[in-house]
Symmetry: D2
Subunit: 359 residues, 4 copies
């Protein structure tokens, strides 16, 4: 009747640590893992707040989590845990991940550092890479498209938020060759939490509440190569996308609206919907809405679900594919836990919030 | 390390129904119960949408809940379930509850209909009562103050959102006689979801986003007798409160700021905090913050926690007691499930979200 | 030093009426006209609230506007006023406008009823037209593109909000033949006030605050023919656009992000910016930002300005043209007053708010 | 018909400068002064951005204001202007004001530095005062209560935002002796712009949108002595207030809810309303609503109006007085211009926005 996985028989438990626990991705990992029936959260690793209670800086953890922030010590983590979530900014992450892997730990890295296989492309967009020899080892953690490979992966590169929404939306169309791989336009709208926890003018409430604006317009956002790599692999063509991110006055959520050219003039929304339902038939985190329904980021807020839908504009021959996710859950922490579940043989949706906090 | 209760050994499971499933309280019950490890949600009862999928009107349930809305049939519910959550407006609830009780079902009523023991006071504020003979049977479900009585209750009146926040904040002060029962002023701030799901000008985004305003000023809000009854019982004095609710431009949350007169001039915030920690020592849903910290509704959004804090203004001899809750969780659905847990001998916090969706 | 027009010598004054004064467009007209140095606002015409004070339903007018709502009487208006703003829904507007014109009044119609010259296209999108013989008489009031014709117009069709933003953004590119007229994609983001004043689930704060979603996806929005007509006229080609509107959790503002294919591979943002500055050189309501700056709806909130900017993605050969306006001002009431100014020989920006209410 | 003052015959014009032009109060002064029919805005003085265009940092001024930020030079300002608005933080303001006054300029200071007559009290709350000898010279600029004195004032201390709302609300009650001066409780709710333009965690959208919280609880906010001084003067009693400010998730607006004890049990809302209407009969910026109506900060957003209302709770003998203002307008920049108008013999409301940007 109800599809939420409930784990009945408990056996052994995974022990995990979070490095970078006091950012938004870290606290979202905390929210999920505290309620995960098969995980023991052992350690919170930080830098500036070592020795303080983690909950001192994270009001939602008060009275729930009693961990103290500890300094990074890979050997200690290796003795005490099975897997480590690394929620650090790109650049800072690679050396830490390298060290953790050196101690044999399974690492789920939420930064961009291991998402691109091609070092040259990485360095073009992000600058020098601190551990390029580990790039080949990493598996891209968009579970719906790389479930098999993840089962044995020990370095998992959890996808970016924009790529997650954008790739999930358009992958079924490309795989079924319903649209041309040429000329994809991705217009994405994000909540402000995507900018992270450091106060900035861009996220200062008086200057962003009540307004919407684009940023990094004209092919400048670092998620572009990640999207292109994944979609090129699916379509078998080295494609390029026009990608424009926008900042919307809300905290959480990404809506990605993708415009593609229909491969044939008779294509309709039903065919697109069927292709998506076929591709995601075994994916509990993806819900393909009926044609006519619009994904709403509010309907996935706090949950690990992606809501997709497809429309066709017969007048212009365009397919409009949409995906809504919570950027901090399916776009980050939730997806990381989904990867963990797959990696360790648990039910894929175990411990992941299925129902959004709506309204 | 982490206080979230995790149920290890599963035995039998409770079967429950929700009457009034498509309102905000109903959908919040759904969110919680879908993830509850000891509950099977069997039936969703509605009126206008009988025969439709519940998820058709509730986008967060798409792909998760497959229930069809059914018409009310107490006999059928009695055969299939152990307990029923009734999430109807006041007035509509009483006859339904009466019938469910007539079939022997345990009922958790989220309306105001059974919160006041005194029929006369009820009818003064709400109009005629449809089942006054059941008033004596009902137990007021503010778990922290009536845990024992709830263990055997079969008609539980789940408290209102404003009363929950207001009573929790001031109860420790009255019980420890730290403040005078005279002259309490309660200034409460609520998110817009408290007004329910029916579109109205008061909740029309353009007319409420970006502004704050009071309503029902001057002793006119129906939650007043409920607050007075509970606080009078605690203090042993028939007290009255000045209560002013405000509408704040957000969806969820209630912050109740209570002003009380210190019983002696040496009273400080530490003494108030200790009194509260003593009273709520065994209450997993209440977190008493250190003096100086301010409860924030965002820090409890989506969780069943109440955050309390105490300050004293030595210049004026006032104690300022504050409580923040999520009006739809600890102020409604979560509290109802907390009552269910207590009633059926489960761990009090089982299945209840402990960590807020923050940010 | 400061470009806001200030009228120095007062001579005669225009007398105007507003039909449909209690909607959002009406109240915005009120805000502007109350402060306009050359206008006397004589009459507020309504239907359901005839006889009541206009300010009773519009809290921002309390203590400022003392007008009583009167029933529609074209003859009376003709005796007392020079021009009438008609702020009614499409369909309701046409017969009223027809009658006002029959009495010789200059009419500024804010509905869609006279925006399309082609009756057949109108009826395809909107249904039967009540005064088709007046279609030829109407002048489309996008001042920046039809200033000359407006000087003698007596029936002015004030453009829609989405068309205003979208046409202003892309017109310079088409006129200078910098982009192909084929394959335009318009992804527009609107505040909730665009949906009007009637409470609805779509504008119910709990269901739209905190989320973003598209609507009328797949070529279904009625502003499409209006955009296509204007852009076809500019480009000399009968073009079609893919248009997707989105609802953003804010009250005011439209951001239109337009994707066009560069006509030649060497095109850069500077050339696009120059073309726009050339076209709008004499247009006080349009500000073309430097390349790299992003229009922000907050930076035009409450003002009659449109902020434009241009970027080019050299990797994909796309131009990204953006325009931000306040949908109720430059997208409705302000633009109507701008038309009035032009029609009656006043300075184009007279009485129009130049500086946004920012933050 | 319409009460907005419109200046008919222009004669000479005031020349003004703004010191501290790039903060929120500065940009709001800019918005008002650009449209003011009797003012020429000559100079924008700053520190970190000297030599840059003011509009570079203030997107709403782009295309409207072409001023370059200049360094502070009192002698130069004295040659070029008649009056200076000083919009600096407290502490920084006093020496600048002192120097400007030394050059004979009329100064309107928006900081706290000259609001308290009593140096000792100032220093207790704010620290050392840099120009205490000028305290006696300053006139407190709450126009409605000190209009006469302002006509000849050359150093005007523009009131704080919380004091403006709180004093306006309760002054009529104290003056008419309808309430006791003892035991006043002021519960104030403010938008986030009150915290200024510097990014901080408190104003970081993800951590303040969607939540409400108090701050500086227990008699700690610096506006307390300002409120007490003004109300003590009115009542003739050295009174104290319990004051708790709250942060509400919106940009602009303050709602002050004041609880007072009725002086006699027969007092009703009508008597309070009449007292307020009598006191503010000649005050164009104050609107006293009918009993039963609630002031809404949205209904005054962007305008210089204060909306007041009064209710009485007969059950508890409390009067509830409320005031809503825009903290950046009537609570800062608008009030400063209102002072300027009074000081220079202009119509009190000249150039001040009367109608709010609603919705």
């Amino acid at each position: 009747m109800v599809s939420q996985p409930k784990d009945i028989v408990m056996t052994d438990r995974l022990r995990i640590a979070i490095v970078g626990a006091s950012g938004y991705t870290g606290v979202e990992l905390a929210r999920i893992l505290v309620a995960h029936p098969r995980v023991d959260w052992i350690a919170a690793v930080g830098r500036s707040s070592v020795g303080r209670k983690l909950a001192d800086d994270l009001p939602s953890l008060r009275g729930v989590v009693d961990l103290e922030v500890e300094a990074f010590d890979a050997a200690s983590l290796a003795r005490r845990t099975d897997a480590v979530f690394c929620a650090l900014p790109h650049g800072q992450s690679a050396p830490i991940v390298d060290e953790l892997r050196g101690h044999g730990l399974t690492v789920l890295d939420l930064s961009a550092d291991f998402r691109l296989r091609d070092r040259e492309i990485y360095e073009q967009w992000y600058g020098p890479h601190a551990a390029p020899e580990r790039l080949a080892e990493a598996v891209y953690g968009l579970v719906e498209l790389s479930r098999e490979r993840l089962k044995t992966a020990d370095l998992i590169a959890v996808p970016g938020c924009y790529p997650t929404a954008s790739i999930l939306a358009v992958a079924p169309l490309l795989r079924a060759e319903l649209v041309s791989p040429e000329g994809l336009v991705i217009d994405a709208k994000s909540g402000v939490s995507g900018a992270g926890r450091s106060p900035s003018r861009a996220a200062h409430l008086p200057e962003c509440a009540g307004g919407v604006r684009a940023y990094k317009v004209g092919g400048a956002h670092r998620h572009i190569p990640e999207i292109e790599a994944a979609l090129s692999e699916i379509s078998g063509v080295a494609l390029r996308v026009t990608f424009t991110p926008h900042l919307v006055p809300m905290t959480r959520g990404i809506l990605s609206t993708v415009y593609a050219t229909a491969a044939n003039p008779a294509l309709d929304a039903e065919a697109c919907t069927e292709a998506a339902r076929a591709l995601y038939a075994d994916s509990p985190s993806v819900v393909v809405l009926d044609p006519g329904a619009s994904p709403d980021t509010l309907a996935v807020r706090g949950s690990n679900r992606a809501h997709l839908s497809y429309a066709v504009d017969g007048r212009t021959g365009r397919v409009i594919a949409q995906a809504a996710i919570d950027n901090l859950v399916k776009g980050a922490a939730g997806q990381a836990v989904q990867c963990l579940n797959v990696r360790f043989g648990l039910s894929e949706g175990l411990g992941l919030p299925a129902v959004a906090v709506w309204p």
